[in-house]
Subunit: 109 residues, 2 copies
């Protein structure tokens, strides 16, 4: 029924659109203004996201407001998490060091 979510988020521009929709719904032209992308291109990307179930559309007068529909991202999260223990094992060395040395200053803090 839905298009492939992994495919939908493969395009950098579509990821940017999702990020912009993270907090507020937005009409198409507002998105097109933020990116260096023509308005039809944004429309077409929105359709891909719509078919993937990653956004929803709401009509308001002459505008169409798009909002994030994040539930399907759980599918990506789930797939990646299947590998989490493996990269945690690699990145974990630093993490354990910090846990066992609470007085050590954290980066960026």
């Amino acid at each position: 029924m839905y298009a492939d979510v992994f495919d939908a988020i493969a395009h950098p521009g579509r990821r940017l659109i999702l990020e912009r929709l993270r907090d507020h719904e937005q009409p198409v032209h507002a998105l097109a203004d933020q990116f260096e992308m023509s308005r039809p291109a944004v429309s077409q990307h929105l359709r891909v996201l719509l078919e993937a179930g990653l956004v929803r559309e709401r009509r308001a007068g002459r505008r169409r407001l798009y909002r994030l529909e994040p539930t399907r991202l759980a599918e990506v999260h789930g797939w990646v998490t299947q590998f989490e223990q493996f990269w945690q094992a690699r990145l974990g060395a630093l993490g354990r060091f910090l846990e066992e040395n609470p007085e050590a200053p954290e980066a960026g803090a």
Copy 2:
């Protein structure tokens, strides 16, 4: 330096390859036997994964063993996690209901 990780995992076949490499390193022909894909196709997908930094190559005699290099998946995990609170809020309602009503029959069970 690296190719786009999101792009690399967009192809279903490449995701299958990564899953097969999750536990053990494997030579190319072993992977080609598992999937309905020609051996050159597997080689080409492995190159994409290699350029994305998702696998590593080790030469052993006439074979080349590929193993998972999972650290770059953390990038995907990080991006998706940026949206986690939003889908958790949505999926959370059902989860809490089930926790508070242990006797309620689950769908499909």
